[in-house]
Symmetry: D2
Subunit: 477 residues, 4 copies
């Protein structure tokens, strides 16, 4: 029996992007930057680069270190580059969906990489096909490429603005031409994008952790609806003509971004510690030890433990030697799939009342196994605390979520989930508590600046394609 062990109950950010202009090690730094963004997509990676000799492109399934290796590195060369890491959904001709997209247009070659998800891609696609365009992939990103090619504006930058005018949904894009690097966030600013500087050259990246990896300095966030255009002459900025209220994905703070990244003026690990503290205030329970699920619950657990004055301990140990699959001896082996990745440290569990912290319960397949392992190691009580509200609604803005029928919180009461996990008690952070921790203010204020559709079901950007088939999705007020 073959066991998939890497992602037993996880969500997937669909992408991370990176760009750099005018640097002698543009390609190598793009590889390093993508490696730092690997948590945003592990299925495929790509780098497009350009110099006087033209464009080159390297993309394939696999981790960055597998795609860009000693054998392949010479196939991509340039002094400017963009890159992409991707989590791709299964099936079909997904090779064609690996990014960056690179196309030949009337204005020369253009490479483009996209983090996010368009909500009107199907509608645009059908219109374009009726006009005589053909598509080589099923990716919404190819729609952007065709809109850009169709524009009759004199520069790629103006064509890009033309194309963006048609789009609805979430996008942080990096675009590279022979002499220009562009970066843009959708008007609501759902996905992150930051600006850095390395040796005097501008860098764009989904998160600051990629800047740190290069030793680059952080300059600032790209703003919602902002298009930055970088040439040899420097960086210029313009706002897209159709402003929207800010709706940065709050789940980026809870789950996706690396703890050492900063965005919106906040360090991710600080936000998570604050959530942990708030979680203690909302649902504390007498206990002897606070234990995180590594590594996802570490910072919330630190915040919980500090506020509670209860010792923080490593009660679950993560293996560093877990590959993608492992052959199990027999199908009735108890929890071996989880144990290959996580071991209980009975020293910190036996005879204790445990608060177990994690960042989410999605399908609910892993948590019961962990609770059981802790009990078998002698835990007296296990109290599960989750640093996000119940994840009950699919995301259409760039996170790969399971079908709603598989989202535990969409189909079960809190008590049903507790009983299923086998915990003595279970609590999620409340939506208001989350806002308090992240933004130091309640949710329902005019200043609200986050998308929380996965918790609230309120979708701030029109779901054009979906609404054609299904009128039941509640539009955010």
């Amino acid at each position: 029996m073959r066991v998939e062990i890497l992602h037993p109950d996880t969500l997937h950010e669909e992408c991370g992007v990176f760009g750099i202009l005018d640097h002698p090690q543009a390609v190598g730094n793009t590889a390093l930057g993508l490696h730092a963004l690997q948590h945003r997509g592990q299925e495929a990676a790509g780098i497009a680069a350009v110099d006087g000799a033209g464009f080159t492109l390297l993309k394939a399934r696999g981790l960055v270190s597998e795609v860009y290796n000693a054998k392949t590195q010479h196939t991509v060369q340039g002094t400017a580059a963009i890159g992409h890491v991707r989590y791709s959904t299964a099936g079909g001709n997904t090779e064609a969906n690996i990014q960056p997209f690179m196309v030949h247009t009337q204005l020369g070659q253009v490479a483009l990489a996209h983090n996010g998800n368009l909500t009107n891609a199907d509608a645009l696609r059908h219109t374009l096909m009726a006009e005589g365009q053909s598509f080589q992939s099923t990716s919404d990103t190819e729609v952007i490429v065709h809109l850009l090619a169709q524009s009759q504006k004199p520069t790629v930058q103006e064509r890009l603005v033309d194309a963006l005018g048609y789009l609805k949904g979430a996008y942080s894009l990096v675009v590279l031409t022979a002499d220009t690097l562009m970066g843009v966030r959708d008007p609501a600013g759902v996905r992150p994008l930051v600006i850095g500087m390395l040796d005097g050259s501008y860098v764009l990246a989904s998160e600051t952790c990629a800047l740190d990896m290069l030793g680059a300095d952080f300059v600032r966030d790209v703003k919602p609806g902002e298009l930055v255009t970088i040439t040899e002459a420097g960086l210029t900025s313009q706002q897209l003509p159709n402003p929207e209220p800010n709706r940065f994905c709050v789940f980026e703070y809870i789950y996706f971004m690396r703890p050492n990244s900063r965005f919106g003026g906040k360090y991710v690990s600080h936000v998570r510690e604050s959530i942990g503290a708030e979680l203690f205030r909302e649902s504390h329970v007498p206990a002897d030890v606070v234990i995180p699920v590594p590594d996802s619950g570490i910072h919330a657990a630190v915040g919980y433990a500090e506020t509670a004055g209860i010792p923080f301990k490593q009660g679950l140990v993560r293996s560093h030697y877990v590959g993608r699959t492992f052959i199990e001896p027999t199908s009735d082996t108890r929890h071996a799939g989880v144990r290959l990745k996580l071991s209980v440290n009975a020293a910190n569990v036996m005879g204790r009342r445990v608060v177990l912290i994690d960042d989410s319960i999605v399908r609910g397949t892993t948590m019961p196994k962990i609770v059981d392992m802790l009990r078998r190691a002698g835990a007296l009580e296990v109290h599960v605390r989750i640093s996000s509200p119940p994840f009950a609604h699919p995301c259409f803005y760039g996170i790969d979520t399971p079908d709603k029928s598989q989202l535990t919180a969409a189909n079960h009461s809190l008590e049903e989930i507790r009983a299923f996990t086998g915990a003595d008690s279970l609590a999620y952070i409340s939506l208001d508590g989350l806002y308090k921790a992240v933004a130091a203010s309640a949710r329902n204020t005019p200043k609200r600046e986050f998308c929380d559709a996965c918790f609230s079901g309120e979708y701030p950007i029109e779901l054009t394609d979906l609404n054609k088939e299904n009128q039941n999705i509640k539009k955010a007020s």
Copy 2:
């Protein structure tokens, strides 16, 4: 030192194509058919298939048996399929050029595979880009795809005819939609395409050897300028509206097609034996033994030997264990690159006057080494006889030829080449002798039905793209 040993002095057909409709083993038979066509392209292979569940596509660099293997075979499934083998020129983003091309259009998905080369692809490409199309590859085949998508005709078949109206050059195409398989040869019929039948289902293939591999029956050749359309209802035929004189590539007979293929009513091995016989009549020399360069010279050598009454012997033995590269002990090793592939059998050479037969001399890098090896093994005389006229002009109709500066026959006299090879005498078949052997009539008759531009420099189809840059290429009368 790493030595490329497979193709020391060879030309490359750029492609082979295959198609089958309405067969339960459509994909497996396409893999088998492509394997039989592997000599037409060894760099990449692909299969597109369709059934009620939709289209699937498998394509990658490598031999057919590497691309379609136990691990990948489940990714492509269908009851109709087309396939392609490719020799791709080095460099750049060649992944994007691997075929079949598969696109989503207003009329559904279409897959397309192409053998040949368009001579006005660049011109068409620039027009299409000015109209707002973008290109994801540098392949001329993508031009056909865009023309097809742009047509506003109601069926794919009509759109294909529309698209073909714009093309100049050589093409044998197979095209697959959800319910239809089409095959077409350009009006001059430069590249081959044949029709077969397997278990009541129609098959299209570049050569009959692919039919034999499946155990399929040969039905007939596709005619120049003929479009055959195969559906569940059967096969229908139409002629493209712009007829041209027949100009089948004579080099297919000499060099590319498998000896056991038949085309134009002729068996390839018979044609080669006739050339060998004619070669003897044109340039015989007293000798003790006729030796082919294996396997390229075998049939011409058999024809020469029979006509001459001189024994045919295996004087060069080919290794069956030659991979793509081999590490040589030292750069000054004499001829190891050739020896890894070919060994002299001194038993048939020592003390003999040898007639050595091969099908062509392109760059002239291998022949001097073979002549030297024969002399070292004791050959008294070595007389080189070549079963094609001097290859002095590049092909623009689908054969990958070296730059003219590297074509020995374009830059050297016969005597210079003889001296360079070290042979005692050297003769090529004459152009008229070639026609006599292939067509049993002289070249300059109204019935002439071959393209011989690589020998004569007379290009029968307009070289639109080339002529823009260079007015010096002679247009065939």
Copy 3:
């Protein structure tokens, strides 16, 4: 430039062993157990198994999950099995050194796996060669095999006791015959070995973490100088005839064993927390935050932080996507090798006085880079605290240590090392402090039960081979 990133400054345990008798999933459980012991050896792995159909053996370079995979698992089958993971030193014919060793003897086939290192292997080897034995490897383990084969005792068990009588040094062995599993520790008990039970079948393993991986119950440690013999009839025990004072490797507690393993009645993570607490007591300093080098410093940092009342924070984040190598863009990239694996979380560092905890400094190549990274992230002060005494003497009992010339602590004063790391202060735990933390008593008592030669230079077991060449190594009193 290719960068080795996994082990920039680490030591290597030379092996882990596992055995199981009379279990239907003997092989699969051995693979799982070895996976749990992977930290004891990452270069090669092997499994020998036996059932009525005879012995089978699978061994190769690579991680357990690479060696035992879907393709290879069918090559090794049985109801009893032993396994081995290995860190092998570079160079030479190391394939031959991969274990288990499996040999054909007069009493049938015997498989053997060894953790430890013999100190008189060369002497025994020369004697055996003079008697007509030949060796196929350079491993000291093959000496045991030959001694066992040479004995004329009637059972493998008795032959093993015979053979062990010749050995000096450290060994924890598992030995498998057609119907018997044996486990033995050397008389000083330098390396660990424990007994467990799974579904009524006995299991042997280097550490209890392997038992936990299977869901097996812990039975007890194997005692120093004890040979346990397991057959269908159960487990019997005997003591080897030559007792020695107990000298378990104290570095196993500090460094090698998994935090969730228990041995000698102690949990490893508890021991490490105690060392951290003792480290605080010995060398505390005013600070704002305690930061571990992940994962090696975590438990000592928890102990230090708790005792100090200073917050424990994750100030360094470990990447989960680090493969074995990565292509660096340029050789002058600052610290990229370390950054690929570790990122600073500036949130917990900026403007703080940091206590940085790690378990050892061996060559000293990594620590200066980490200190520099922390300073660049804004740390006001960096105080390095090491949870082991200075590692100044090579180990000859089974740990692969660098040449003495490369051991920082062997060649530099404390102040020199501090200056080199760039820390504001540096302290190691004292040898007595270590004993207090591990054994709750001072070192120099009759009860002393550890080998600490790497810190003290006092080698408790005779270094026969070494002393032949070098009389300068101090013999422990």
Copy 4:
């Protein structure tokens, strides 16, 4: 369905050996030489080399070009080297059986490679085990290693002579020490071994084709029972003390040796042509064309055709793109396994009476498919002629033969085999005809110098191990 296509009905020589002393490119030339000997073993390859820095060894499963590649070549270095290619039987721990064997002995390291098979290996093995030796492989070659190590003679050469004194069976060995290269053939001289010279350095190889690959000069055959010892000072020769009548394997001429090799003063291709001529004289039949099974029947077909005055034609074409396996579309595909490798050229078959020549019928699995393919291509008659006598007895001297129950000729009459193959007539060369062709004299003369046990069942060397179990094997007179 996965189809093994390389060896549908073939026999396997168990090994080829090579050695070279005192040459700066010793290792690279050994790799080249082994490549030339690849037909003698395709399952595994190895090279042992030595220079002032000591011995290195590279061996693994795979072709020479797979084992010795750009990645591995640096692991084996030296100015003297021996090498081995191997066909290994399936199952068990065959890694341990890959050669060269390399051992550490009292007289230093010794590497050894063996072509042949001992007939008293089991008996010697049991004796050695009773004396306290253990075996790490099941290879008979390890017996030689132990005998050599046990000898108390002062030099490796004398120890080798000592060891050889115990052996029965077939062996051509190459042995390498730090300064000496030895080569030896068993007293009956069953397997070949030749001496060459490259740039003033001595070379040993199983066949002269390996000398040709290097550009080395042929010096002479090693004689039966001769031990040649090569040092810096030159080559010395001695005869082993126990002479036997010469019994070179006649099947080497028919089947195993490359056509361009020479041995015993004869060129292999000449011998095969003579057999073909004799085959015509023995069993001619009216026919229109002589067709070889490529490449095994080529030379006999040339001899047959020349003697018969019937045209030799390529009626079966061999694919150059056959890998080891290929996925067949369906299990009921007719003969696809054979067709992947061989295609009929109908041009030379249709409407003709065909004489089809091959070198052997072993299991008889392939021939019926070829005959059927020829008939389907229009052959009027198919007359099968085999250039060896019926292969009815297993070989115990170094050829891997199927179990007797699978040898068609051991279990069926000539007429049964003809009917099974579907041929119009079938004839093998007679044993006397074979002798006439190979040695120009009848078989039963005092000068008889070949082993023909596989045809006659008369085994010239005692089958010690086999006779213990089975007294029914006829001992040759």
